[in-house]
Symmetry: C2
Subunit: 248 residues, 2 copies
């Protein structure tokens, strides 16, 4: 049989004394299952989903409000930064080198909104979320802001490619600038004609247009697999964590 732990090894993994310190094994098992669900999402193993499973609501809340989310965001930014620096050091003609950034949960965080809506436990409410977006108060994700500035400073063209609608252009520009994001080369919002497309299709089309203009998409940062997959994919993609919602 496989040498992964049965119940007896599992007990051996826990700090002692067992009884007082820890949640019941059932709770521990639920926690393991929710961590598995979250990691499966990051590995793109899940079927499309519309809300966080009820039994994982507490896990997701703890994750996004605790140190693990920040740690995960920071590690992905560091990997992206190392890759960007290696490219910049190559010395070749880099005028066409481009990096694509998604906006929500990539450059800006909507955690204050999701804190009021069960961190993904509630079904997504477009109107409510639009009201939040229109406040223009989404904070920067610090590790993404550092990466954004570095990528700019290294000479990459920076394209912000968001599923937000064109009607939110003004508030999005203001929100980004207020949070320290400046000097992007292009901010692409979703036109009315793109509204019925999946994010994967819409974003692939926009990346293809960039390539047709001669840009080489070398990096792409996004919290959804639909930011990264499809066609005209980036040479390398960076999947930021997001267990709160799924966009096809």
């Amino acid at each position: 049989m496989l040498a992964v732990a049965g119940a007896e090894e599992y007990a051996a993994e826990l700090p002692r004394p067992l009884v007082i310190q820890l949640p019941s094994l059932t709770e521990a098992e639920a926690e393991a299952r929710c961590a598995s669900w979250r990691v499966a999402g990051e590995a793109n193993n899940l079927a499309p989903w519309s809300a966080v499973p009820a039994e994982c609501a507490a896990h997701v809340r703890r994750y996004v409000t605790g140190p693990a989310y920040r740690s995960d965001l920071e590690l992905v930014a560091r990997e992206a930064s190392a890759y960007a620096r290696a490219l910049a050091a190559s010395g070749a003609d880099r005028a066409a080198d481009a990096w694509v950034f998604d906006v929500d949960e990539t450059l800006l965080s909507n955690l204050p909104y999701y804190a009021d809506h069960g961190y993904g436990l509630e079904l997504f409410d477009h109107r409510e979320f639009d009201r939040w977006v229109e406040k223009g108060e989404a904070p920067a994700i610090p590790s993404s802001l550092r990466l954004y500035k570095e990528v700019r400073d290294l000479g990459f063209k920076t394209f912000l490619l968001t599923g937000r609608s064109e009607g939110h252009q003004g508030v999005t520009v203001d929100n980004l600038k207020k949070q320290g994001f400046h000097d992007w080369d292009r901010l692409i919002l979703r036109a009315a004609a793109d509204r019925t497309k999946t994010a994967t299709a819409y974003k692939s089309e926009k990346r293809k247009e960039m390539e047709a203009e001669g840009y080489k998409i070398l990096g792409n940062s996004g919290d959804q697999w639909s930011d990264l997959l499809g066609y005209s994919m980036s040479a390398r993609s960076f999947k930021l964590p997001n267990p709160m919602y799924y966009i096809p």
Copy 2:
């Protein structure tokens, strides 16, 4: 600022009393960083790596010998199973439907080998590993065995596509059968001519050959991104966890 936790919120996340029960914050931070590293690998965010980072050796050992690895494996198998059943229920002509399985760390586990070699902390030693393979004693991953049988029973053609060399055909067949894997349609091992190719290139070529024969690759299960990416990709891929080694 982003509403993810600073040090004060972090302390609030921990069960109390803090001092006696838990490792120092430094150890907790190291644990968070190693979990981030592991999850980043699952999300394909890492640059190629040749060994587990020394500071994460204990984390990886605990993960693969504890309940989290088993839980992650089981969840991925359940997702794959649900997808396979949905496809089988479609009722269309399914004679060409195929599922590709990798072997090592997908159908069979080499944990007994890696237990003797630091769970990925040591650099990979081809000769030592070959000696282990030639014993033919790799146990089945239970959730993968269940998925394999179900996929077979649902009528998919099953192609086992492994980076093992053709010289290991006999021992691999024996090992698989001894562990309960039977009736695959094809076992594809790496020929001498394929030895210098990356796994991504070799496996893409073999998938392309399947397609050229008329098969529709609908599912692909593998523990390496190089099992899943490249060209002639499966309609849906299932990334099994593996923080012990990376194959390009």
